[in-house]
Amino acid sequence: MLLFLTRRVLLGIPTLFGLVLLIFLLIHAVPGDPAVVLAGDQATPRQVAAIRAQYGFDKPLMDQFAIYVSQLAHGSLGVSYLTQRPVARELADRLPATLELAFFAMTLAVGIGIPAGLLAAQRHNSWIDHTLRVLGIGGLAIASFWLAIMLQFIFSMNLNLLPVHGRLSLGMQAPRRLTGFFTVDALLEGRWSVFTDALRHLILPGVTLSIAPLATIMRFTRASVLAVLRRDFVLYERAMGYPRAILMTKYILRNALVTPITQIGLLLGAILGSAVVIEDIFDWPGLGSYAVQSIATDDYQATLGVVLVVGFLYILINIVVDFVHALIDRRLVEQL
């Protein structure tokens, strides 16, 4: 198992290297002086000169790439010309907010999607199955930013049930930073009112982000449960008079959940992608709203920093998913 994990991590390295190379080439593919491009339109000549010296843009291309890689290896993603702070530090401050939102959305998607898919498969071709299918197809076609605005319009502006934006209400003091997840930190501190407030702020952006992955997970669960139900061993166990509940949880689900779980990695990536827009709409202080803000101000170092960090997270998540997958299905360990 350890060997499997090591090999899987080693396989991720070329992809990460490729991603760095891609971004490096992007910086150079843009017409104009890369130092000016990175510094932004409103940068002073001194800032441009500083960036040129930092990345060695006056040296040959190969040297430049070596410098860029070593900068990254030392954890430097450049300096945001807008805030004059290191991009890496700003991203580290904002990462927990994005992760809390993404995990919350994923929990909703898995927590509702898998039971719903199971229900649809059990009541195959019933009205429940058809309704869930229509909802699932619809869920994949909704533009998330539109859904976000509509939810804000209905639940915050008209019904006044949930907050429009932010992570906490005004005047509410953020919990001491342990994990960076406000809900978890508030619970650890035992401040119940902060926890409920943070949770209320999570609901609308979380629901928005969960819709598409929820629909996907439901679809995959339904299809794979149906496929397992047709297998001979299920017929045999039914004939032997196994209690339905044990048959379902112990034998069918274990076989059927492999496919939906392998999707989680891809879906988390998709959530991180949509979070860019959704965070902006809900003023959620994470990576996404940082990216949008840096787009609006042409802060390229900041945008590219977000792309690198999200790409890195995505590769990491897929390694974790492969590992979990291998834990469920040991046959994979021998294949790699």
């Binding site: 070329p14 992809t15 990460l16 490729g18 991603l19 190379l21 891609l22 971004i23 992007l26 910086i27 593919a29 843009v30 491009v37 071709n125 197809i137 619809g138 994949l140 076609a141 909704i142 533009a143 930013f145 539109w146 859904l147 605005i149 509509m150 804000q152 319009f153 502006m157 008209n158 339904r222 299809a223 149906l226 496929a227 990536g269 998709a270 991180l272 992608g273 949509s274 860019v276 827009v277 902006d280 709409i281 990216a291 949008v292 787009i295 609006a296 042409d298 390229y300 945008t303 590219l304 977000v306 792309v307 999200v310 790409g311 995505y314 590769i315």
Partner: protein, 280 residues
């Protein structure tokens, strides 16, 4: 073929999808001659600003007094033009690369597929945003950014199909006769995998419409004043909660077009590739 047509005709969801796609294509083509206020693509009448939906303006008007119904219908042209352009360019890049990688394999095939993996290692939306920003606002750069984001989906798909097609006996026979590899690839293997490419493109167009709407929403897509669904929704946020129609109708248009292409793509896949048939 007729049995396939019959299969398709029995699939109500796919028919609905084909209907929606048909309507959107029709509106995209005939839109400028159909809408009540075709000049509202660019003209402004500030005095009629922010009227709620009425008989004169089915979807109301925006803050420049432009008829929203006209602009939503004209937006279909913008969206479809962009999505078809992107799908075309992405295919032109992805299909040959996938064919070569799948057929020749070796270090070149490996290299092509590793590059594909790198592009797929970043969520497409994030990559598209970074590219669109680097290339500066404009239709051309939005199309380029989305094409560069979407081509790996084609190359991966075509790669897998080519790998399985090259083991066919007719390929062995042609290789034995000394037919040039490119001739085998483009005249014999490509037609055999074309149906799977069409399915991928149909589903892809729905996805690209969605991505393009996000770019428009972020202000790095189609520049104003050209009618664009995403940009209209972004603009509507200043006018909520009072003027809800500004946000509602363009979003509905995105929903219906993406839904149409998704349903049609699913239906086509069921017919062409029974391996993935939805279990009913």
């Amino acid at each position: 073929m007729t049995s396939r047509l019959r299969l398709f005709a029995r699939d109500k969801a796919a028919l609905a999808g084909a209907g929606l796609v048909g309507i959107i294509a029709f509106l995209a083509l005939a839109g400028p001659h159909l809408v009540p206020y075709p000049q509202d693509a660019t003209a402004t009448h500030i005095l009629d600003g922010l009227d709620p939906p009425s008989v004169a303006h089915f979807f109301g008007t925006d803050d420049f007094g432009r008829d929203l119904f006209s602009r939503v219908v004209l937006g279909a042209g913008t969206a479809l033009e962009l999505a078809l352009g992107v799908a075309g360019i992405a295919m032109a890049i992805g299909v040959p690369l996938g064919l070569w990688a799948g057929y020749f394999g070796g270090w070149l095939g490996n290299a092509i597929m590793r590059v594909t993996d790198v592009f797929l290692a970043v969520p497409s939306l994030v990559l598209a945003i970074a590219l669109a920003q680097l290339l500066r606002a404009g239709v051309g750069s939005a199309i380029l950014a989305l094409s560069l984001t979407y081509w790996p989906h084609f190359s991966r798909n075509v790669y897998a199909e080519t790998r399985s097609a090259r083991t066919a006996t007719f390929v062995d026979a042609m290789e034995g006769m000394g037919v040039a590899p490119n001739r085998i690839l483009f005249l014999h293997i490509l037609p055999n995998i074309a149906s799977s490419i069409i399915v991928r493109a149909t589903i892809g167009i729905g996805y690209i419409i969605m991505l393009a709407a996000v770019l428009g929403f972020l202000g790095i897509g189609v520049p104003a004043p050209q009618p664009d669904w995403g940009a209209t929704i972004a603009h509507s946020r200043e006018h909520l909660p009072d003027d809800w129609w500004l946000a509602f109708f363009p979003g509905l248009a995105i929903f219906l077009s993406v839904l149409g292409f998704n349903l049609l793509g699913d239906g086509l896949r069921d017919i062409i590739d029974p391996r993935f048939r939805r279990s009913r």
